[in-house]
């Protein structure tokens, strides 16, 4: 899903600053002892393994939402205005949420349960989730009949080709780059050399890369297998752009949409009105609904403001909600304690997993017993508290989030779920065994309010186990730059990472592949383990998503338990609230927020 380290940081720092201006340091939150029950609930909620659907699963219309009615206007309170509406530029979660209503792609996620936890990748514009006959090197898609843009023009394979080719144009620089890299068989930004100007100067991708033999067929050719293509194409960043209606940079403000809603007005930084798109045909769409007549979106609504307005539940706010604003940390525990208010909330996971990296390039850290001592000693409670308690952060066992296919809730090698405060005695024993009692440990921490808070308590916990902890502050603006420098002098430091789609293939390879160690890359712990590397190559070739999910989980366990280059800390969570007349309110684990596609007015 959307934001990774850098983006996550950007968003989190904005959030932190916002909280500062308005509420000072009033981060409350509960960490009462209901963990056991919550864990059970969450274990139930975890993402079931996702499969790639065929033609039958991809046929519209979508199964009706129980009790749904049509009509009415919904008020949507959002913090940030949408900087991008051009699919090629969409990569952050709030834009991805609204894109669910506006844009369609070749594939998409169909909810298979009514609680937002079960999903299946199906064909959206395409008749199925894609077919490959050579293990993921060649993928073929066929477009459905009756699919149209908002202006009534049919969507053809030419539009799909155009949508792909324009991703190579220089002005597209904010969206995901998976597909481009796979097509060009290049890493980094080197894919741009394949089509430097995009399709705008008469050049096109060669048919050895992308084929559109007729108006309905699209064939992708990769040099190496990419069984994850159906997942990747479901990202909003790969949704269709109208070739006829492409206005390049200006498309970002006024895209020609294909989804159930179209933009009636968009006042950047102020408001947006979405109305039904009459060219959208429910029969072609297995994923979306069109119950609400109109969405009135208002921007600049801080979390505190939207929470209070929706809690008050008066006037237009009765049919109000936010696609992305959370219940602010100050009100969270109070809201969840009151059953009446709680009934209007939904909670779920954000895609991020927090982890304490152990810098494997430092000689002192090469001793596995020392790393195990860190793993046992590290208290996670301070981290959970800093973010507002167990309603906002759940203690993590492994590196794979509950929203990702293959998550194993019972995996907890360092006993963090039972003893989130750490096990200093056991750690001390190990440290003694290694003959490293009172060894120096440099802890680089981010100087956000949360970072200040948890790092102090974490350092105290490590000290108790016999480490001589030296805390070093890193400015939040340059945090990820500093810790991703190969010659940084921090022994341990905390980072967070979110999956781009519900498969660990967007988590484990970028973070732990020893062959991608470089300045600025995301292998923060600088781990280079031959078994991890070879397993990544092997699992990347498995075409069945259910099988590969199980293998990724095994690799996750190997990394956490046997390599110990990283200690998982927490799964980020959030709670959202809606007015009393909002129906179909579901937290979707893949979207990472309220599912806007099934909303209706009671």
């Amino acid at each position: 899903m959307s934001r990774g380290g850098r983006h996550a940081y950007g968003a989190l720092s904005v959030l932190a600053a916002g909280a500062l201006v308005l509420t000072g340091c009033s981060k409350g939150g509960s960490d009462s002892g209901t963990d056991g029950k919550k864990d059970q609930e969450n274990a139930k909620r975890q993402q079931a393994s996702i499969k790639f659907g065929g033609a039958a699963d991809s046929t519209g219309p979508a199964a009706p939402v129980p009790g749904a009615k049509t009509g009415g206007t919904m008020e949507v309170l959002q913090r940030d205005s949408y900087a991008h509406l051009d699919p090629g530029q969409i990569y952050v979660s709030d834009q991805m949420s609204v894109a669910q209503l506006l844009h369609r792609g070749l594939t998409g996620y169909k909810a298979t349960t009514d609680d937002g936890s079960g999903h299946e990748v199906v064909g959206d514009l395409a008749t199925d989730s894609g077919t490959t006959t050579d293990g993921g090197k060649t993928w073929k898609y066929t477009l459905k009949d009756g699919i149209k843009f908002q202006d009534g023009t049919p969507i053809t394979s030419k539009d799909i080709r155009h949508s792909v080719e324009r991703l190579f144009a220089p002005f597209i620089n904010q969206g995901p780059t998976y597909l481009q890299q796979w097509l060009a068989n290049a890493s980094g930004a080197a894919y741009r050399k394949l089509l430097p100007d995009g399709p705008y100067k008469g050049k096109h991708l060669p048919s050895s890369v992308l084929e559109t033999p007729d108006d309905k067929t699209i064939v992708f050719h990769f040099k190496s297998p990419h069984p994850d293509l159906p997942y990747a194409l479901a990202m909003s960043g790969y949704a269709v752009v109208s070739e006829k209606g492409d206005t390049k940079q200006r498309y970002d403000k006024a895209p020609v949409v294909s989804g159930p809603y179209k933009i009636q007005s968009f006042k950047s930084g102020k408001s947006m009105v979405l109305v039904k798109n009459p060219s959208w045909d429910a029969k072609t769409d297995p994923i979306r609904h069109q119950y609400v007549d109109q969405f009135n979106i208002t921007f600049n609504q801080q979390y505190e403001t939207s929470t209070k307005a929706l809690l008050a539940d008066s006037g237009a706010d009765q049919t109000g909600l936010s696609f992305n604003n959370q219940v602010d940390a100050g009100n969270l525990s109070q809201v969840l304690k009151d059953p009446k208010m709680k009934s209007r909330t939904v909670s779920g996971y954000q895609p991020y997993v927090g982890q304490m990296n152990i810098n494997m390039s430092h000689p002192a850290m090469k001793d596995k017993t020392v790393r195990e001592a860190i793993a046992y000693a590290l208290p996670v409670t301070p981290f959970v508290r800093a973010y507002g308690g167990t309603d906002a952060m759940e203690v993590a066992g492994g590196l794979i989030s509950p929203t990702v296919s293959g998550y194993d809730p019972s995996f907890d090698p360092w006993g963090k779920k039972k003893k989130p405060a750490g096990d200093p005695d056991k750690a001390r024993e190990l440290l003694k065994k290694a003959g490293k009692l009172n060894m120096k440990l440099t802890f680089g921490y981010i100087n956000t309010p949360e970072g200040q808070q948890y790092s102090t308590a974490m350092a105290a916990g490590l000290k108790k186990a016999g480490f001589d902890v030296q805390r070093q502050e890193i400015p939040s603006e340059t945090y990820y730059d500093q810790v991703s420098k190969l010659n940084n002098n921090y022994d341990i430091f905390h980072t967070a990472w979110g999956a781009d789609w519900p498969s660990a293939s967007t988590v484990l390879p970028p973070l732990y592949d020893g062959r991608v160690i470089a300045d600025g890359a995301q292998n923060y712990s600088q781990v280079n383990d031959p078994k991890i590397n070879s397993e990544i190559d092997r699992i990347n070739k498995i075409t069945d998503p259910v099988k590969s999910a199980a293998e990724w989980e095994k690799l996750d366990q190997y990394i956490v338990k046997d390599v110990v280059n990283v200690v998982p800390t927490g799964y980020y969570k959030q709670t959202q609230i809606a007015g009393s007349k909002v129906g179909g309110l579901v937290y979707d684990d893949v979207i990472g927020g309220v599912d806007p596609r099934r909303l209706f007015i009671k």
């Binding site: 983006h7 904005v14 904010q174 780059t177 006042k267 970028p510 995301q522």
Partner: protein, 326 residues
């Protein structure tokens, strides 16, 4: 008068010029790269270089500054997003919108907020201050002074949410703060801004109460006032014709500065009530390391402060005949 104005305007331009240089240097001095925010998850040096190139950040700072000045004065057709007539601050890194257009789009919110609040706090603040000075030493004076003391020590980010909780969410007496275009719907423009006006002006009014009172009392002790009273003029006449006029000078000075900075964006008020004005824009430009927007908001706000300072200085001549502008 004309010579005075010309001189002051030239001075203002020089200050703006220096300010733009300082802003530019500060932006590049802070170790924060706007490209990182756009780079996405799998960021690498190549992608960053590409973004730098697209934004023009790969050029030397002096060249970038020269381009900035050139565009500001002459406009530019070089932007891929489209033409950018003078005064051209370029296009926002974050939203890709023309900065000048965005500023003009947000200005009505800020102007509405400022003017409405100014009317409130001038009437209430000066009224209370004059009353306190008129009834100096009485219970009225003591109440007004103490009240002003307490209120002026409060903050918008405390009063704002409190007012929202009581007046909007619990009692539903007022509409939820929002900005509606005056030309489209004057009634909801008014109702949407009542609470922000009241809250913003409450704090200012308290300060103006104290200022008006002390300035007035000072004036009342002046010799010409005593002389006028000795000549047998009524207390009311002396109060309003003699002392009041003299007490205006410091008030007008402060008012000019206040108005100028409010026109540049009432950051906390706009943020608290979610109003899309220049203050919110300033916050956004900092969060997103958005240099063009940052420069735009900065220079616009500074121009407002300078402009109102000039107006105030010119106004002295009308208020106090002793002042000669030359």
């Amino acid at each position: 008068m004309l010579r005075f104005l010309v001189r002051r305007f030239i001075g203002a331009v020089v200050i703006l010029f220096l300010l733009s240089i300082v802003t530019f240097l500060l932006f590049f001095g802070v170790p924060r790269d706007p490209a990182l925010l756009m780079c996405g998850k799998t960021c690498n040096p190549d992608s960053i270089a590409n973004i730098h190139h697209v934004l023009g950040l790969d050029k030397p700072i002096t060249e970038q500054y020269w381009i900035f000045l050139h565009n500001l004065v002459l406009g530019s057709n070089q932007f891929a997003q489209g033409p950018c007539p003078a005064p051209c601050f370029g296009y926002s890194y974050h939203t890709n919108e023309q900065v000048w257009g965005t500023l003009m789009d947000r200005l009505p919110t800020t102007v509405s907020l400022t003017l409405g609040a100014a009317v409130c706090f001038l009437i209430v603040g000066l009224g209370t201050g004059l009353l306190a000075a008129w009834r100096r030493g009485t219970l009225i004076d003591k109440t007004a002074t103490a009240g002003a003391m307490v209120i002026s020590s409060l903050q918008i980010y405390f009063l704002g949410p409190l007012a929202l909780a009581i007046l909007v969410y619990q009692t539903h007496w007022f509409d939820k703060p929002a900005y509606n275009d005056f030309t489209q719907d004057p009634a909801s423009w008014f109702t949407g801004l009542i609470i922000p006006w009241v809250i913003l002006s409450t704090i200012f009014a308290a300060q103006y109460t104290r200022m008006a009172r002390s300035s007035m009392i000072e004036q009342l002790q002046e010799e010409h006032v005593r002389t006028a009273r000795a000549k047998g003029m009524s207390r009311g006449y002396v109060f309003f014709r003699y002392a009041w006029r003299g007490s205006l000078i410091p008030i007008v000075t402060i008012f000019g500065i206040d108005l100028g900075s409010l026109f540049g964006g009432a950051i906390i008020t706009e943020y608290t009530f979610g109003l899309p004005g220049l203050g919110n824009l300033a916050v956004q430009s900092v969060f997103f390391s958005d240099l063009p927007l940052l420069l735009g908001v900065m220079l616009f706000s500074a121009s407002m402060i300078l402009l109102f300072n000039i107006i105030v200085d010119a106004a002295y001549a009308f208020i106090d005949p002793r002042v000669r502008l030359s």
